[in-house]
Symmetry: C2
Subunit: 152 residues, 2 copies
């Protein structure tokens, strides 16, 4: 594969990472930075390399990188005056935890909604109960999966 080909391929992937992370609530620039750090062959990039490759201002890079570091998405290595950044690998179990917390809060909201219904047998009340049951079934299964993985 030629260098130019690789570069343009990387640009496309950076864009895809970017739109994905945008869709889950990150700033556009944050998504591109995660993309660049994911895609790039050298996995530790300086502040300058980042702003030059992505063509963004020092200001936004500074703000967004600080946020990404605070959120443990990116790790920073200081080397003299220079800062180097690399992707911080997430603990996959923590990702699962996060998803389960989301399910829990949905479950909680649906329960509160049913509690407030005059008619607990109404169509929506039944539907919400069905969703709650599905969430509970799902949690049983992931608990099993978690155990299985942990005992390997």
């Amino acid at each position: 594969m030629q260098d130019s080909e690789r570069l343009s391929g990387q640009d496309q992937l950076i864009e895809r990472f970017g739109t994905y992370f945008e869709s889950i609530g990150f700033q556009p620039i944050a998504g591109r930075i995660i993309g660049l750090l994911s895609v790039s062959d050298r996995e530790e990039l300086s502040f300058d390399e980042i702003i030059n490759r992505l063509k963004i201002s020092k200001g936004s890079a500074s703000v967004v990188l600080r946020k990404l570091v605070a959120e443990c998405r990116v790790a920073v290595v200081e080397n003299g005056r220079r800062h180097y950044y690399k992707l911080k690998q997430q603990n996959l179990f923590e990702l699962l935890d996060e998803f389960e917390r989301m399910c829990d809060s949905a479950r909680h909201l649906l329960n509160a909604t049913i509690d407030l219904k005059t008619d607990k047998e109404s169509s929506n009340a039944k539907y919400f109960n069905e969703i709650i049951n599905t969430i509970d079934r799902y949690k049983t299964i992931t608990a099993t999966m978690r155990q299985a993985v942990q005992t390997i």
Copy 2:
């Protein structure tokens, strides 16, 4: 429970539904409408009831409701000149499908990223492979779950 108590309880839940749906990409008003239709005791509400309870303009209600109907989140019943709206209950398997499509596209992006790496043994390449394996394990499990539920 008193009526006033129930009403303010509903308002709070509407707000919680609203912020939840906002967080997954819906317009604020769309989230509140879904909340109102989820929480309200009468589960079929007229255009007027919606704009009065949520204190929103006819214009935004019209636009947002059309969108929600197009997305199959809300069903509309026309009765003479009046339109009545109710929550459209989703097929829970379709929700699962949607989640799996999301996993598939993530898997695809990670694969493309590894393909483009010069060093397939780099730290990030290994990390991405680990995520792919986790996704695959997850899919095996949900397939089993799906079969189990379908044969009930």
